[in-house]
């Protein structure tokens, strides 16, 4: 295996495009090094990008934040302004792994590794986050929801990688929340999960709502009907019932040792309901 620290994003993209063997990108390494150890993959080329400009930075931009692709979960958790703006997203990121893993694991890695259960992904999707992708032919911005395409798969072409993730500004009276179900209290993979992002008007009526669920389909899903069910409401029982029904209808999970189809579907609805109430309270609504 060759280990390379390219001089620029462009050089990295060209290097990755021209590699005939197996290549891997190293940011936090918390998935890649596990794959190496398990001999699931034996890369010919390992490209370390952490030293490149902006990769380790959280920068305010257009009222939101641009998060470098190598920023760790711990660094996001320590950023007060980011946490205040996108609390649900940051709590999702902070649920990934142990204290040790938090020092290294990144949101971009969590996205690109393509797990349907990735804890940072649902709240990135409800935030309308946009990944900045560098490739051999230049840079493009891709909505986060379009990056994962199935378990372990993503839509990036050969030579492409994420350099940062942009979280847009949010209006006043808006917030988000993320919840997952695990049978333990810590250090586990979501059996199901839900993120909700809401914006309210001055009297507490929902004007904008986004709902995403994890671990209940081959990719994290944006449940558009579930978001629509909340708009115009103050999360009354009818709106919540419609939210839960829409979430359950969107679920397309597998049966496995961690959870049955029925269990995952039901818990996703419950988590969406609870996350909606948390987001609503955080946004300043009176429940």
């Amino acid at each position: 295996m060759r280990y390379v620290k390219p001089e620029s994003f462009e050089a990295a993209a060209t290097l990755l495009r021209d590699e005939d063997g197996i290549s891997r990108i190293l940011a936090g390494g918390t998935d890649v090094l596990v794959q190496l150890k398990a001999e699931m993959v034996e890369p010919d080329l390992m490209v370390d990008l952490k030293h490149l400009p902006g990769m380790r930075e959280i920068v305010a931009e257009d009222g939101g934040f641009r998060i470098g692709a190598a920023v760790s979960g711990a660094e996001m958790g320590e950023h007060a302004a980011l946490k205040a703006m996108w609390p649900g997203l940051v709590e999702g990121v902070e649920l990934i792994g142990s204290s040790q893993v938090q020092s290294r694991a990144t949101m971009a890695g969590n996205l690109c590794t393509g797990s349907p259960a990735g804890d940072s992904v649902p709240a990135m999707v409800t935030a309308g986050a946009v990944a900045r992708v560098q490739g051999p032919d230049g840079m493009r911005d891709v909505p986060v929801v379009d990056i994962p395409t199935g378990p372990g798969k993503n839509s990036l072409a050969k030579g492409e990688f994420i350099t940062s993730i942009f979280l847009p500004a949010r209006p006043a009276n808006a917030s988000d929340a993320y919840l997952r179900f695990i049978p333990r209290t810590e250090m586990d993979i979501a059996v199901s999960s839900a993120a909700v992002s809401l914006a309210l008007d001055s009297d507490g009526t929902v004007t904008e709502a986004h709902v995403a669920v994890g671990a209940v389909a081959p990719t994290v899903l944006l449940a558009k009907d579930a978001g629509a069910a909340l708009i115009g409401s103050k999360l009354d029982d009818t709106a919540i019932a419609a939210l839960v029904a829409a979430v359950e209808a969107a679920c397309n999970p597998i049966n496995d040792k961690r959870g049955t189809i029925e269990f995952r579907t039901t818990t996703a609805g419950v988590l969406a309901k609870r996350a909606a109430h948390i987001a609503y309270t955080r946004a300043g609504g009176q429940a």
Binding site: K37, S99, Q100, R104
Partner: protein, 158 residues
């Protein structure tokens, strides 16, 4: 595979070593530098027995490539005592018998020290969550949590 020269700082000492690109920091510490305090439990970042500090952050050294430590500052369990004088966490772990087989202990000590530097007065719950990535199959954790709290109290009053 050719070896690469790496220059890093380990426990305050400038250290140079040669390694392969796919070697973990843990393998280099143990097999090339003879620093066998950091243990390999799982090798996949689940057990925390290989915990070290990398540029001031707690990491699993099995999940770090040794080549990544070029120019970095690494702190291991070997640097925890001040000469013959044990760190309060080390001494209290002995006094309160917060270990049995001892394989998890170096990682737990490194992780607990990182916690107390960040939060000198944690609750039991905070200690348990912080150490959730350090598995111990002997003690049932209770004595570990109590020892961390005893050492924390001592360090606060020092």
């Amino acid at each position: 595979m050719k070896t690469l020269p790496i220059e890093t700082t380990i426990n305050g000492d400038n250290t140079e070593f040669l390694c392969h690109a796919d070697e973990s920091l843990l393998d280099v510490l143990r097999d090339r530098l003879g620093m066998t305090g950091s243990k390999e439990g799982c090798g996949t970042g689940d057990c925390g027995a290989c915990s070290v500090m990398l540029n001031g952050r707690l990491v699993c050294s099995c999940l770090v490539l040794a080549v990544e430590t070029q120019g970095a500052e690494v702190e291991t369990i070997e640097g925890m005592a001040n000469g013959e004088e044990l760190h309060p966490l080390q001494r209290v772990f002995l006094e309160e018998a917060a270990l049995q087989c001892g394989v998890c202990t170096p990682g737990i000590l490194v992780a607990a020290k990182a916690l107390l530097e960040k939060n000198p007065n944690p609750t039991d719950t905070e200690v348990r969550y912080w150490l959730a990535g350090n598995l111990c199959r002997c003690t049932g954790y209770d004595k570990i949590i109590k020892a961390v709290q005893t050492a924390a109290a001592e360090m606060r009053s020092a």
